[in-house]
């Protein structure tokens, strides 16, 4: 269980998170949606302790990580896996070394055992025979798959996804979405996904939380969100859908001037 209580964070006087409250249920996929630059990545980095809040509590399995010292925070992070927006694979390592990295760092497994897990995880994300390749040789979708294989290498209880479908073509986007759903079913881990892709969100989410102006303004199942009468939620979804469509015609939702609330 992840519980965020009155989280506030400012950068250079600009408030990005404003007394934000959110409960994330275990063993579910929770998608946090919001506009680009709205603080979604900042929120995700708070959950894993990469950024500390100015005030508020971040409760992970009953422990407030906002005030933990570095050593304890490092221990807590072992419960997490994270897929970054551009996968954040280590350039200087091969695919196999990337996936093996957390195993080498945190387990006493033999090289043979590590190789087996690496191959298993790569198979799980639909990749075969690429352990020797360098990240620079991979496509965007393949990089994300390798990033996901690395994130699940230690079978973490919580996996965070920073805009997993951004920059992918529609076919690859659907493929990554299906992968997220199937891996969550198999691992029963808690998935927290941030996205501004409304179609992907409705496809994968058990619960959707809407971030706007530093606060969570609506929470519910995809059906509840879809059928919500809340004018803000309706305008927000409409705005995001328009943004997705406009990306094809080269006009962003921000350029169209539509704003929620």
């Amino acid at each position: 269980m992840i519980k965020l209580i009155k989280i506030s964070k400012s950068f250079n006087g600009q408030k990005v998170l404003n007394e934000l409250d959110l409960d994330i249920d275990p063993e579910e996929i929770t998608v946090i949606i919001g506009q680009s630059g709205g603080g979604k990545s900042v929120l995700l980095k708070h959950i894993i302790g990469l950024i500390r809040p100015d005030s508020g509590q971040i409760i992970i399995d009953g422990v407030d990580i906002a005030n933990l010292n570095d050593k304890k925070l490092t221990e807590t992070r072992k419960k997490f896996g994270m897929l970054f927006q551009d996968a954040a694979l280590f350039d200087s390592m091969t695919v196999g070394e990337n996936v093996a990295f957390p195993l080498k760092e945190h387990t006493q497994l033999s090289g043979k055992e590590i190789n087996k897990i690496v191959n298993d995880k790569l198979n799980l994300v639909g990749l075969d025979n690429i352990t020797h390749k360098m990240p620079s040789e991979l496509s965007g979708g393949m990089r994300k798959r390798v990033g996901l294989a690395r994130a699940i290498a230690l079978d973490p209880k919580i996996i965070l996804f920073d805009e997993p479908t951004t920059g992918l073509d529609p076919i690859m986007r659907d493929s990554i979405d299906r992968l997220i759903v199937s891996i969550q079913k198999r691992t029963k881990a808690t998935f927290v996904v941030i996205s501004h892709d409304i179609e992907s969100t409705f496809m994968i989410a058990h619960k959707i939380a809407m971030l706007y102006q530093g606060k969570i303004v609506a929470v519910g199942t995809p059906d509840e969100i879809r059928s919500s009468n809340n004018s803000f939620v309706r305008r927000f979804i409409k705005d995001l859908k328009a943004g997705v469509r406009d990306q094809g015609s080269g006009v962003s939702s921000q350029e169209s001037g539509v704003r929620a609330c």
Partner: protein, 256 residues
């Protein structure tokens, strides 16, 4: 007047702030030095990068520094019949000053900039965040091996530079300017102490610390994509070079 002072003092405040942040990184690095896992393989790789791969540039710089020093001092000393001191002057200058400083500056250009660029790229592509999320300290994994490698390899490179500089000086002095070989060597042995060489190597180790720490600091604090990486690289070289010159003065004042 106050505005002028604010304007003029801003770079100084920035410089002092940067030095303070670099010292904080150093303290953090020292705290990680004694905690396992000890990453010998990464350190050996960095030693190869800092030391072996810098050999060519250090050989050329050292040799030509010694040669030009012999040439210049010969013309000066000849005015009062002191040609016999050319060898001693070259050796003393190389071991005390030019060997450590020029080696450090060349390695700063080659290695300090590369450290800033590599770590900067890792920062902007979230690879450093990825290390953190995997409960691996970027300071222990990235910074510490680079700093230890530079501290160990700079004295080795410096002693090579000293040697080729003196050989270059000998070649010009004895081979081209026809100074007596025996006098050249005798004066050099008479005037240069082991302490001169040793203190020069201590300086080199200190410069290794400065250039690696500054390169890593600038890399770890890079913001803003490719442009940010470019800026970090340039700033790492400039700041390291300035710190090397400043610290050289104080080290010389203390040691000699």
């Amino acid at each position: 007047m106050i505005r002028f002072l604010e304007f003029a003092g801003r770079p100084l405040v920035f410089f002092v702030e940067e030095c303070g942040k670099i010292l904080l990184l150093l303290m953090s690095t020292i705290s990680w030095m004694f905690r396992p896992p000890f990453r010998f393989r990464v350190m050996i790789k960095q030693m190869e990068f800092v030391g072996v791969n810098s050999l060519g540039v250090v050989l050329i710089t050292g040799a030509f520094t010694g040669m030009v020093l012999a040439l210049q001092t010969y013309h000066g000393f000849r005015m009062f019949g002191g040609e016999s001191l050319v060898g001693a002057t070259v050796a003393l200058s190389m071991t005390r000053e030019l060997g450590p400083v020029f080696t450090a500056l060349m390695v700063t250009g080659r290695v300090g900039s590369a450290m800033a660029a590599e770590l900067g790229t890792m920062k902007v592509t979230e690879q450093i965040d990825a290390l953190n999320t995997m409960s691996v300290s970027p300071i222990q994994f990235l910074v510490l091996p680079r700093i230890i490698a530079a501290i160990l390899m700079l004295p080795v490179l410096t002693i090579i530079s000293d040697f080729v500089g003196i050989v270059g000086g000998y070649f010009v002095g004895v081979g081209l300017l026809k100074i007596n070989s025996g006098i050249f060597m005798a004066k050099m042995i008479e005037i240069v102490d082991l302490e001169d060489i040793f203190n020069g190597l201590i300086k080199a180790a200190f410069f290794g610390l400065i250039l690696s720490l500054t390169g890593c600091y600038k890399g770890m604090h890079t913001i803003g994509g490719a442009e940010g990486v470019g800026k970090a690289t340039t700033q790492a070289v400039v700041l390291s070079s300035i710190l090397i010159f400043i610290s050289d003065y104080f080290l010389t004042a203390v040691m000699f």
